[in-house]
């Protein structure tokens, strides 16, 4: 039975504009890729080695949120998150190296851990392919963005993700309001999935995913993934 009424939510993402982005080439040295152990004919799977270390193409110390595939946030912002009582994230050590070569350890990797379950089938998204050997899955496009979220699966946390759209971080209205009034510049906010809808074509080319443990801390991957076979 559906009990939870939909709430206003926002998509929280980076500003994909040239100089603000991390240097992909240097970032990639931290990744290792492996083929499917049973020789499945699908994309490989990668994992990051060691702590997050982003190299920036600028020297702007006031960019307090750094976006790559992962997110690094300055400790001062995280302190504000904590004092505001925001939930749905964990942090890990991270390093940021600016263009001038200075490396800062004042940033933390920001891992969104709030959970809104899996995308509803009513959205039109389908599991297209899966591999038993490495738990690789590939999902199809979304046809109805209003049907993506099943609020009964939401853990009620301020920052949250929905499987398999884990690259698209979501947040509650109170977080969005705080961010907009914070003076922090390095992010974009879109109501609902409006940002994603604008580039919906990008979802036409598969959403490949490994097991949930590749994206969430192990305890949460077990807790959320086991019932859905995503662990």
């Amino acid at each position: 039975m559906k009990n939870m009424k939909p709430i206003p939510f926002f998509q929280f993402e980076g500003r994909y504009s040239g100089d603000l982005l991390v240097d992909s080439a240097k970032q990639q040295n931290q990744w290792r890729y492996e083929s499917c152990p049973i020789g499945g004919n699908h994309g490989r799977r990668g994992y990051r080695v060691g702590e997050l270390h982003y190299y920036l193409k600028h020297n702007r110390r006031n960019e307090h949120i750094i976006w790559g595939g992962d997110i690094a946030i300055h400790a001062s912002v995280l302190e504000n998150f904590a004092s505001e009582g925001f939930t749905g994230f964990r942090t890990k050590p991270a390093k940021i190296t600016f263009l001038d070569g200075e490396t800062s350890d004042e940033y933390r990797e920001f891992i969104v851990t709030g959970w809104a379950g899996a995308v509803q089938p009513e959205s039109g998204m389908r599991l297209l392919d899966s591999c038993a050997g490495c738990l690789w899955k590939n999902y199809g496009p979304i046809h109805d963005f209003t049907q993506v979220l099943d609020w009964d699966q939401w853990t009620g946390e301020d920052f949250f993700i929905v499987w398999p759209l884990i690259g698209h971080k979501l947040c509650t209205e109170r977080v969005a309001t705080w961010l907009e009034n914070s003076g922090i510049r390095s992010f974009s906010l879109g109501r609902g999935f409006e940002l994603l809808e604008k580039k919906r074509d990008s979802l036409n080319y598969g959403i490949p995913r490994g097991p949930l443990s590749a994206y969430l801390p192990e305890d949460l991957a077990i807790k959320y993934g086991r019932p859905l076979g995503l662990e």
């Binding site: 039975m1 559906k2 993402e13 994909y16 504009s17 040239g18 982005l21 240097d23 992909s24 080439a25 970032q27 990639q28 040295n29 990744w31 290792r32 890729y33 083929s35 004919n41 699908h42 994309g43 490989r44 799977r45 990668g46 976006w67 790559g68 595939g69 899996a118 995308v119 509803q120 089938p121 009513e122 039109g124 389908r126 599991l127 297209l128 392919d129 690789w136 590939n138 999902y139 046809h143 109805d144 099943d150 884990i166 690259g167 698209h168 580039k199 074509d201 990008s202 979802l203 036409n204 080319y205 598969g206 959403i207 490949p208 995913r209 490994g210 590749a214 994206y215 859905l228 076979g229």
Partner: protein
Amino acid sequence: MDEIVGGVVKRAYTYGLQRISENQNLSGAWTPSFYGYDGAGSVRYLTSATEAVTDTYGYDAFGNEVNHTGTTPNNYLYRGEQWDKDLGLYYLRARYMNPLTGRFLSRDPEDGDPAGPASLHKYLYADGEPVDLADPSGRATATRSASEYASLVLSISVAPVVINAVGATASALLCAYIWEGSTTDAQAQANLTNGYVVTAAPCLSRAVPGKPTVYPLPFPFPIVFPAPRGPFRSRNACDKSGEDPEKWHHIVPRAERTWAEGCGINIDQPGLGMCIKGSCHRRIHGGSNGTNWNDAWKDQIDNVWGRGSCPSDQDLVGFAQSIAVRFAEDILCQ
């Protein structure tokens, strides 16, 4: 999800990534049934809690039931959609569809795509191609699976190449794959067995003058192979003469070389690059529509695919085509 009749729960459905089971009160006993789907998402059988097949279903192309065994009440059938037995219609959200006629009951709320004439029909289901296509929203025909994408998308190096539309009439040309060394369809096919990638970007751009359009795959029109021309030539064939010599443009940006290599993608292969004028090349990398080529790739890799999740060959090529269309004006310096 529960189905309630007169304030009483009649059925409960369990969902994972798709509908997994229904549990219903039959003669006073709650009875679970588990759905078995075919590759098109249609329910082909139900099983009991003891894994015994209780019901089987068969359909024609538009979802009319052609055979059915078993008596378990079940409303979800063709394409996994809800069948309203009182109306004799499938509920497809924006509209109801009548499988006897292959038509929707009401007009299409969307305008349709001028480049895809079938989509302009106001009542036609799935562009009249229900075997290959579907319309789960009642608003837009959607391809069913990645395997169908693969049938039209040329693949890179490792996967077999299948091109359904080769041999289609040239008079229907709205767009062309331009293939070096191919002057006939047969030659193009022969070359394609070597596994190169080409994109149709310039043609798509011209199909709707002034409005580059990103088309979903498969393209809604035939693909033909004219004589080699345009930007899709080999690197050595780039014209280095004149005031604006051509540059080799990597379709997968060099900034993503390490990611690509990790994923087993050789960004230097001939099919993943094109010759374009130096000034056009600067435009592509200098910004268009608020972003530039490299950032668009980075967005896709970081947020959609995930840096730790490599796309399939078909999806890589599909995205390469889509982004080429998106930047078509820059590629052509128009």
